[in-house]
């Protein structure tokens, strides 16, 4: 059993694992009931699934230049996936796609309500600023 065979078997295992995660993401995105749950399913593929697949690709190609490029892809994905997920969730919260009763903790609604209870600084209800005379 040479090193080539070992690396190929490892690459094949990672390939199947990554593809399985993408299948899981596909099933989750169809079956889950609301937006946040679907986002949760989608992120499994975006980070771990792609990581496994690119690891398999690196094991197959076995060159450092390729490894650098694959690291770049993974770095991009890990930087952009949270940002995209945050944007989608924020837009979903603001357009009423998130049902409050489906959440265990809803700190954002609590925070906004507490903030709306206080008078903003530039509102007419706020005390006038001290002018010093």
């Amino acid at each position: 059993m040479t090193a080539d065979v070992v690396l190929d078997v490892a690459a094949g295992t990672f390939l199947v694992a990554g593809a399985f995660l993408s299948l899981v993401a596909g099933v989750g995105i169809v079956r889950f009931p609301d937006l946040l749950a679907r986002m949760h399913a989608g992120t499994k593929l975006q980070v771990l699934g792609l990581l496994l697949l690119l690891l398999a690709l690196g094991l197959r190609l076995r060159s450092w230049g390729v490894a650098g490029l694959l690291l770049l892809v993974i770095a991009f994905q890990m930087l952009t996936a949270p940002v995209a997920a945050h944007m989608v969730a924020r837009a979903g919260y603001r357009t009423g796609k998130v049902q409050a009763e489906s959440l265990e903790f809803d700190e954002l609604t609590d925070d906004t309500e507490r903030h709306d209870g206080e008078a903003p600084l530039d509102s007419p209800d706020a005390p006038p600023p001290n002018t010093g005379n």
């Binding site: 094949g12 593809a19 993401a25 892809v73 952009t80 989608v88």
Partner: protein, 186 residues
């Protein structure tokens, strides 16, 4: 290796179909965005799988580009996401679209007809009033009181016109003065 690749390709294909199902069902723009994100990632995975099978390195650039495109797409869509009515979340059938277009066309035709009727009414009114004025002018010389009224009306119009011309003259005078000043300086 071949078994792993075939198995992986089959699973990726299933996942892609499922993502497309979610993109079709919606129900909101953001669900479609998430489905689009997943589909892009499956595309990246497919390219990676093919590169791993044939040991090629020229498609690796596609991985970088595709992962960036997915990010830009989903961020843009969610940036412009708005509150959408329930009805807009569904893809309409062909019959519904046709019924809607027919209703729109009927509304347009009705508007055009109403506009035509309005114009005709205006034209008829103008014709009637012109005829009434003619009749009044003809009868005015015979009757005394209407003639007096007509003369007063004519006088009123005359004074108004005179006032207007005086105003114009004043304005013109001011204009001339303001125009004259720089000439003096020069």
């Amino acid at each position: 290796m071949i078994f792993a690749v075939i198995l992986g390709a089959a699973m990726l294909a299933c996942a892609a179909v499922l993502a497309l199902v979610r993109a079709e069902k919606g129900p909101s723009m953001l669900d479609r965005t998430v489905a689009f994100d997943v589909f892009t990632t499956i595309l990246v995975s497919g390219v990676a799988l093919e590169a791993a099978w044939s040991r090629r390195t020229d498609t690796l650039v596609l991985l970088v580009v595709l992962s960036l495109v997915g990010f830009v797409g989903s961020v843009t869509i969610s940036r412009f996401a708005a509150i959408e009515p329930e009805e807009a979340a569904r893809v309409r059938t062909r019959e519904e679209v046709e019924a809607e277009l027919a209703a729109e066309r009927a509304a347009q035709e009705a508007a055009v007809e109403a506009e035509q009727a309005r114009r005709e009414a205006m034209r008829a009114e103008a014709r009637d009033s012109a005829r009434a004025a003619e009749e009044q002018a003809e009868g005015g010389s015979e009757a005394l009181v209407p003639g007096d009224a007509a003369a007063r009306a004519a006088g009123g119009v005359g004074t108004e016109e005179r006032a207007e011309t005086e105003e114009h003259a004043e304005l013109a005078g001011e204009g001339a003065e303001s125009r004259a000043e720089p000439e003096e300086e020069r």
